[in-house]
Symmetry: C2
């Protein structure tokens, strides 16, 4: 991304943000007064070329919907799983997308002449959630989806840490005799509250296995009761880690499992209260009052990507002024 590109596009009214998931892309167009003026969903392609195609297609689809051309788009931000070099816009090891190494910002930008910025999807969602929920100070976004990870935002900026592992709380073990995690360890937080791990432990057919678990638990099924307790316990453990290490003021829970709504929120809150019952120290933290759940279908991730897209890379700030 060069100075010229930034300068050329600063007057354009529309910022686009894309949240690229394993199966679909959530795309939003954001106006200059920070309103979401269009939104669409597209299937995500598999493999490097198809991922670029589907991203470009989503941007063009939004332009169509708004009746504008790409010359009205100031920037595109992309939140995408995997290891992201946000300075170069390169994506590595996004295994759910069939991407091993993809020069995403350069390739997509070349296709439609708009500057692209790329960010890890959870970090972008964290920024979007912080802005949408009006959080000042510090917050963590705990993403409960197929996997579990968090993003931290402090004073309106994504907390990057030293090597990009900030917020990777999903792979902290909280029980040495817990289930084997995909990462090779036992009892990781993700094995308790990740949708993928819960579906595997449940092992019964169904399109929405975590919802099936909650329904079966309500009906008294013993396996389901245990897994439901794991879900709430694991999410509570994630909240505790984020507060007792980075000391964020609030934890906003997002991700696919927010489709469970109040059942999830009340369960996590209950687990936080139960965990604090025996401990005056934990009670003093009032963790149950410091969490909130994003509404199901919240555009936080795509909105955050739009904010990332419109930001000036840190390298540019250093080198130009």
């Amino acid at each position: 991304m060069t100075d010229a590109v930034i300068a050329d596009h600063s007057g354009r009214p529309i910022r686009v943000g894309l949240d690229v998931g394993g199966t679909k892309i959530d795309a939003v167009a954001v106006s200059s007064d920070d309103r979401i003026v269009a939104r669409l969903r597209r299937a995500t392609g598999w493999g490097e070329d198809a991922v670029v195609d589907s991203i470009v297609g989503a941007v063009l689809g939004l332009a169509d919907e708004l009746g504008v051309t790409t010359s009205d788009i100031a920037s595109v931000g992309v939140g995408i799983p995997g290891l992201v070099d946000s300075d170069s816009g390169r994506v590595l090891h996004a295994v759910n997308l069939g991407v091993e190494s993809l020069d995403l910002a350069v390739r997509a930008s070349a296709r439609i002449g708009v500057p692209f910025r790329v960010e890890n999807d959870v970090k972008a969602a964290a920024l979007g959630a912080a802005v949408l929920r009006g959080v000042e100070g510090s917050m963590a976004y705990l993403n409960l989806g197929t996997g579990v990870a968090a993003g931290i935002v402090v004073d309106g900026r994504i907390w990057r840490g030293s090597r990009g592992t900030a917020g990777e709380v999903g792979h902290l073990s909280v029980d040495p005799s817990g289930r084997l995690c995909g990462c090779g360890q036992h009892g990781c937080i993700e094995t308790f509250c990740g949708g993928g791990a819960l579906a595997k432990a449940w092992g019964r057919p169904g399109a929405l296995p975590v919802r099936d678990i909650l329904d079966a638990a309500d009906a008294g099924d013993a396996d389901a009761l245990a897994l439901r307790a794991d879900l709430f316990h694991g999410a509570a453990a994630g909240v505790r880690v984020l507060v007792l290490s980075a000391d964020v003021e609030r934890v906003i829970i997002g991700g696919g499992l927010t489709a469970l709504g109040d059942r999830l929120e009340n369960g996590v809150r209950g687990a936080l209260r139960a965990g604090a019952e025996a401990s005056a120290f934990m009670r003093s933290l009032r963790l149950d009052e410091r969490i909130e759940l994003l509404p199901a279908g919240s555009p936080a991730a795509a909105f955050g990507a739009a904010l990332v897209g419109a930001s000036v890379p840190s390298k540019e700030i250093v080198s130009h002024g």
Copy 2:
């Protein structure tokens, strides 16, 4: 602390730092070129008045040793356990010192006419360790003493978080069937690697119980072998939490248990390696290469307190800057 006080003392050559522990105060005098030019230890008094007396006594003792008067002292920084309001210099709930509520900065300053700043001891030690070890970027200081807590320093500044619980990793549970912690939870990191918890679990007489545990483990004692494994496992868990949440670049281990030297460092490193054996993700973090142990008797905590003492409170920067 007023503008006038800060302005009055800025030309004085000596900054004093005190690390106030449950039994003794470690006091250093730091010259204007950041060298430690004097150091002494004093017993800590019990209760509010005695704590103030022993702190003032340590400052006067250093002045004596250097052949200077208090008019040569620009500032005193105090690192002290408990809940510290660093803006007002008030200390709450320092139970090991018999202090319930102490207006420490105001009372000590009134006695000798030198400005005092007060900071939580682990946070002050973290800053001292970062500067003494030349760490740029981000680091955590993991204090293994009677209890376990960490401080985080980013770009030369103490990371405070939102409510003062940043780095309180000692009270994260990593094993639901672990020992009962003093905080009321089970399996807290502190129950594995806190000197107090290990001594209690060991339950045999001796002045240096954790050293006794390591010696007995070397001799094949089964209880000691289990507790030694707990020590290394718990410290490794603390390192993992700090890296996978705040993503600090380095973790420096300090505190009383550093008297164990290489036996502790090699043990923690071994536990980090063993924990990563089954996990490519954990191996990729190279945690075993990112830890270091402070030398036993390191002045990091008192030196950090001296740096805190010489810093301008954030409120002053805001209101006069």
